[in-house]
Symmetry: C2
Subunit: 267 residues, 2 copies
DNA sequence: CCGTTTGTTCCATAAAATGGAACTGAAGTT
DNA sequence: AACTTCAGTTCCATTTTATGGAACAAACGG
């Protein structure tokens, strides 16, 4: 494994709940030896990935990463269009909307718009959720082949809530439902009292999959509201798909491209 | 040099103007051998730092980085307060305002608010500017010791505009002015027609320096407007400084902390 | 002042990065 | 089709860097 993997592992240790971490924290979270971790963190700081606080030697992500997040936004025209579509849906329904992308087994919100109802779901661009346990995550996963899903979760799957899928088999069952219906849904999975509906669109040229998601208070929504949201979401998503010539191809595996794969069988 | 330095060098190649890069682009920009760069880019993709487009093999920053940018925002309470202060100034003056931090020889905008005048400076959170050639950059640099400035620019200084400092000596001269007056200014340096005023505040605990900046169309501003903005900026900055117990200490060098330095002389 | 906690450095070993050259594959060109 | 270019990858011997256990150093808390 290259040191880059370790670095990315370290970066993934940070979250809203743990925005600052000490050497000891990271050792505990990753289980790697203290000496190696110490050197790694210092190297990451020297390279501009982390900043360190003076007292307590607490590490946090450096501004460089804000810069790169910005580039990501500037670049991707699918994101711009998906964002516009979500904004439209938010204005129409009053519920909060997101655009998200996959990062390994997680989804990360890239853009969001807050609804206007008094009781509404907050936006949190940059937030990370378990892909298997969210509407938006399952929408994205539904565009991967089953064997890719299997290899993604071969080291186990976290089950953050009662209603989340408990096993890969259960996940794939639910992904099949998503594939069939064209949208995905989740209630009370990652967030208590929150319901969500999500669709997915792929830019085959950039090899980028994005999910559109509308989130609402699960208790106050009627079946009629839901049906309306679903119809509109499927509509705008189909429009995006046409524009980017998304014809339902599965997302290409993120791992090595050319290297002859171990046990792959392609006609 | 560790591979992390190379990785961070690669990430710094991306900009608003070049949001996607191919292997060849990066080879041209960095001058490193093609074979090494090829392996490096693939490793960075495998680690989740980069995504690759299917056609043209173009690399772009991955969503992981959006996540980290978000953490950075959640965490830092100085940022939250500085952002609130800038918002106040923006509302009062109608001009665009930023909060920025240093990343090596660049400044990166971490938060921004757009003004309400018809002719106004656009916000661009995540944007990267040359520190030496911007008001906000020089405000931040003014809190470093001169020898740190020298070592920062020992490999040369880019001069993006006529009005920007041409040498380290000239830069330090202007930093002395900033230190004396308590604010920094720039006209027509990085952006044509744009003037900017900036102050700086340091959280000594987190070892974080942030700059507050107000940017305006240089042609339409009066001396009176400017004086008013400066007075208000210095006011809110002083308030922040008191809150964080910033007593004008120089920013600690970003490089190794404990390792006995080569030629350092401290009484 | 001494135990405790937290982070760094040492060092021999193991692993990974390097860069020149050869190779592959995909476009163009004649 | 054969030829040329160009972009990207892989090979391989060499150099460089990472690793982890243990010793060391510094800060903390009585």
């Amino acid at each position: 494994m290259t040191i880059l993997h370790s670095a990315s592992e370290v970066l993934r240790c940070f979250s809203d709940e743990r925005p600052e971490l000490t050497l000891t924290d990271i050792v505990a979270l990753r289980g790697a030896p203290k000496s190696s971790t110490s050197r790694l963190l210092n190297a990451m700081r020297d390279a501009g990935f982390l900043d360190v606080s003076k007292v307590g030697r607490k590490y946090r992500p450096a501004p460089l990463l804000t810069h790169l997040a910005h580039i990501n936004k500037v670049d991707v025209s699918l994101l711009a269009r998906a964002d516009a579509a979500v904004r439209e849906l938010v204005e129409e329904t009053g519920h909060t909307g997101y655009v998200s992308a996959l990062d390994h087994k997680d989804v990360i919100a890239l853009a969001g718009h807050e609804g206007r109802h008094i009781l509404r779901v907050a936006t949190a661009v940059g937030r990370r959720l378990h892909a298997s346990a969210s509407a938006t995550g399952r929408a994205l996963l539904s565009r991967m082949e089953d064997r890719t899903i299997h290899s993604l979760y071969e080291k186990g799957m976290e089950v953050p809530s009662d209603k989340a899928p408990r096993s890969v088999a259960e996940l794939i069952e639910r992904l099949n439902l998503v594939r069939q219906k064209g949208y995905s849904e989740a209630y009370d999975e990652t967030n208590h009292g929150v319901g969500a509906l999500a669709t997915v669109v792929v830019d085959p040229v950039k090899n980028l999959a994005l999910s559109l998601c509308i989130a609402f208070p699960a208790a106050t929504i009627t079946q009629q509201d839901k049906d309306h949201i679903i119809a509109r979401m499927i509509g705008v998503t189909a429009k995006l798909a046409r524009h980017f010539n998304d014809q339902g191809q599965p997302i290409t595996d993120t791992t090595r491209t050319r290297k002859s794969p171990t046990g792959e069988q392609q006609p």
